[in-house]
């Protein structure tokens, strides 16, 4: 295995870099944060219809481009770097991957093409299952999910439920306007990502709403979860890189004691430490993605992606804190960008598994008695 970008991969990265540098500026991010939808609707149309980003890593048979986790990671890194406010993560990295990994054939054919085309805003939650009761041919689903990414704006919610009286899970596609589904937008500190609380009160669904392939669900869930962590890690990597870039620009410009503050060794060393952590994280994220692209078995994939998420979460939060500190007073203002990263880094740290939890899982794996 080699960790070099092919020409095509370099092109994907360069395109993402260029498009987002222009479309997801600080001003644009702040406009999206203030908007009702919480995201940039024009940019969302563009990446779906023109740029094919939603299709990137989805299977070709269902309208995707069939590229790997590696290309996906390169794109997400740039989105994180630019704090892109989009329903992309929920739609593609949560719902899309969950369907691709655990969906039954007919459901994949029904749901993946619109996701790949950027025509559907979807989300998924697979951490806390709801309760599903058989009702004739169909189902009745009840329960509450405390925080669902883009839960208020998504058209379709893919929700996991435990089947009553059976020791089994099932995955359902629930339309946003299903009677009995109550969605409450939540106020978040990090305004670049929106969450909603969802309450399901006897939501009635027909048989076709069940979208999982029962034979693949358990394994598919683990894989989808691993991909989600890797995806978030890639975004966090990009965010950390942005923190370093902001800090380099600011400290080389700002003068105190008659010289640029970047010439003080205490400042230089902290920038260098940021780079060390960022490059280590980049190695981990790219390595995990390359392993995923090469078809790593589920247990290996899970460890690698847990490691990537744990490391990226720590790196991002640390770099955001350093950026804030090295900006001095302006770092504490609303108008400068370090605060955006600080909040996003904090919010992401505790999502999809906090580093402490992921490391505990890794330790358990590492300490398993040798076979």
């Amino acid at each position: 295995m080699k960790l070099a970008l092919t020409e095509d991969q370099a092109l994907i990265r360069a395109t993402a870099e260029r498009v987002l540098a222009e479309a997801s500026t600080s001003a644009a991010v702040r406009r999206a944060m203030d908007s009702a939808a919480g995201y940039d609707t024009d940019l969302w149309r563009r990446i779906g219809a023109e740029l094919g980003w939603c299709a990137l890593a989805l299977p070709e048979a269902q309208g995707g481009l069939g590229l790997s986790a590696f290309e996906q990671v390169l794109l997400l890194e740039q989105m994180g770097r630019r704090l892109a406010c989009l329903p992309y993560f929920a739609t593609v990295c949560l719902a899309g991957q969950l369907l691709a990994q655990a969906g039954r054939e007919s459901a994949r054919a029904r749901w993946l093409p619109p996701i790949a085309a950027g025509q559907l805003r979807a989300t998924a939650s697979f951490e806390a299952p709801l309760a599903a009761r058989r009702a004739g041919d169909g189902w009745q689903v009840s329960g509450r999910i405390a925080q669902v990414l883009d839960g208020a704006s998504a058209d379709t919610v893919f929700a996991l439920a435990r089947i009553e009286g059976e020791d089994a899970l099932a995955l359902f596609a629930v339309p946003a306007d299903a009677p009995g589904l109550r969605r409450t937008a939540l106020q978040t500190w990090d305004l670049t990502r929106r969450y909603a609380a969802l309450v399901f009160e006897d939501v009635t669904l027909d048989a076709a709403a069940r979208v999982d392939d029962p034979a693949r669900l358990a394994e598919g869930l683990r894989r989808a979860q691993a991909y989600a962590r890797l995806s978030l890690a890639a975004e966090q990597l990009g965010g950390a890189q942005a923190c370093l870039e902001l800090t380099l620009a600011y400290t080389q410009n700002r003068k105190q004691f008659g010289r640029a503050i970047a010439s003080f060794q205490a400042v230089k060393h902290r920038c260098a430490e940021m780079m060390v952590k960022i490059e280590a994280t980049r190695s981990m994220v790219y390595g995990a993605a390359a392993g995923a692209a090469a078809g790593a078995p589920t247990a290996v994939l899970a460890c690698e992606c847990d490691a990537a998420k744990a490391l990226a979460s720590e790196t991002y939060f640390w770099c955001a804190g350093e950026a804030l500190q090295l900006h001095g007073g302006v770092g504490f203002t609303w108008d400068y960008d370090p605060q955006l990263h600080f909040k996003r880094a904090h919010a992401g740290r505790h999502w999809l598994g906090a580093p402490e939890r992921l490391r505990e899982a890794l330790a358990a794996h590492l300490l398993e008695p040798a076979p």
Binding site: M1, L3, A272, A280, R282, R359, E360, L366
Partner: protein
């Protein structure tokens, strides 16, 4: 990579593993996993014999060009060798400084006569080298070396006076490469020469320095009218700094890739000890074990990125982080190792498992000092990779 190439690589891997199994046995068996950093004084004579065994098997100079007796193997194969060597518990290499530092430097900058004279004896394990850079007043500020040399035209010899310090394995070496001032009154990186000096002569005396670990891996080396032939200079007088820096460039070479196997083995020992001592039940220790494992993966991927970069012959600025990363990772592993030992940690242990853990703990403190201290590494990263203003220089 196509299937044929993959097969070839697998066959090569099997060949290395098979050779190591067959040869790191018998009288060499006791060298397994020994002689590494912090353990250099273990059986040096036998380890030199092991070097000659390697040479007979064709396992030295893997990356050197064939024209100079090397095997001209690809980077991938060299990595495979280092990995399998470490996996088999291959001992710390006595010939490391000659093979990975001086050899490549001579191949790139040496005269034909120097190549013919020195390279074969590095390859066959008959001559060993020490690195004479640091001095009492030239450590991080290496350009401040004060050791002098002058050419005695009549006798056709360089005469060297001065002192080197922290010279690893000088007491086990035959030759030393010396950075010395050939232009009296010159300052900094100007006016230096890169000389090849025999250690076994009356003008050289070597005094071991006892290390924190209690053993004597490094030395003071005194030059008092020491002599070496006029043509034992690499580059021209005045070019010493450029040659010395080029040599350090080889230090970040591929042998550091095999190092990870070695690190992986150490982590396994820590995990085994944690299980045995019950430390594995402590949530804080578990967090650190996982952290350590993550770092090991990071180093593997760092290396794969570095390899990919090396394809076009130049390392990217990111490569500057690797030394800082591995040395600090290793130091943290050492701290974890000693904490896993708990109360036992303060006693000196002779059994292999616990001795190794203590060795990692103590010797890893040197990792962040030699080959550029942590602080110097951060300066380099800040200045060369991030383009921040340079440190003031005296």
């Amino acid at each position: 990579m196509n299937a044929a190439a993959a097969n070839d690589e697998a066959a090569f891997r099997a060949e290395v593993a098979g050779w190591m199994r067959a040869h790191l046995a018998g009288r060499f068996a006791k060298l397994r996993h020994r002689g590494g950093p912090g353990d250099e004084d273990f059986e040096p004579a036998l380890r030199k014999e092991w070097e000659r065994e390697l040479a007979r098997g064709g396992w030295t100079g893997l990356g050197w060009p064939k024209a100079y007796g090397g095997r001209g193997l690809s980077l991938e194969r060299q990595v495979i060798f280092h990995e399998e060597y470490a996996r088999a518990g291959g001992p710390g290499r006595m010939g490391h400084i000659g093979e990975t530092l001086l050899g490549p430097t001579l191949i790139a900058y040496g005269s034909e006569a120097q190549k013919r004279r020195f390279l074969p004896r590095i390859l066959d394990g008959s001559e060993y080298w020490a690195q004479g850079y640091s001095e009492p007043n030239a450590g991080s500020d290496l350009a401040n070396v004060q050791t002098r040399c002058r050419l005695d035209e009549a006798r056709g010899e360089w005469i060297v006076d001065g002192q080197k310090v922290w010279t690893s394995l000088a007491h086990e070496s035959d030759w030393i490469f010396v950075l010395a001032r050939c232009e009296p009154g010159s300052k900094g990186s100007k006016g230096l020469a890169f000389l090849l000096v025999p250690l076994k002569q009356p003008g050289v005396s070597i005094r071991p320095i006892r290390q924190l670990t209690g053993s004597c891996e490094f030395n003071e080396v005194f030059f008092d009218g020491a002599r070496t032939a006029a043509d034992h200079i690499v580059g021209r007088p005045g070019e010493g700094w450029a040659i010395a820096m080029a040599l350090l460039g080889f230090e970040r070479g591929i042998s550091t890739l095999g190092q990870q196997m070695h690190f992986g083995h150490e982590l396994e020992l820590v995990v085994a000890q944690a299980r045995a001592s019950g430390a594995a039940d402590d949530p804080a220790i578990r967090q650190r074990l996982a952290q350590s494992w993550i770092g090991l993966r990071v180093m593997r991927y760092n290396a794969l990125r570095m390899l990919a970069d090396a394809e076009d012959g130049r390392l990217r600025p990111e490569a500057l982080i690797y030394k800082y990363y591995w040395s600090n990772w290793h130091r943290a592993l050492g701290e974890l190792a000693i904490d896993v030992l708990g109360e036992e940690g303060r006693l000196v242990h002779q059994d292999e498992a616990r001795r190794r853990l203590q060795q990692v703990f103590f010797f890893s403190r040197a990792d962040t000092i030699y080959a550029g201290t942590n602080e110097i590494q951060l300066n380099l990263i800040a200045e060369r990779a991030l383009g921040l203003p340079r440190e003031p220089r005296g």
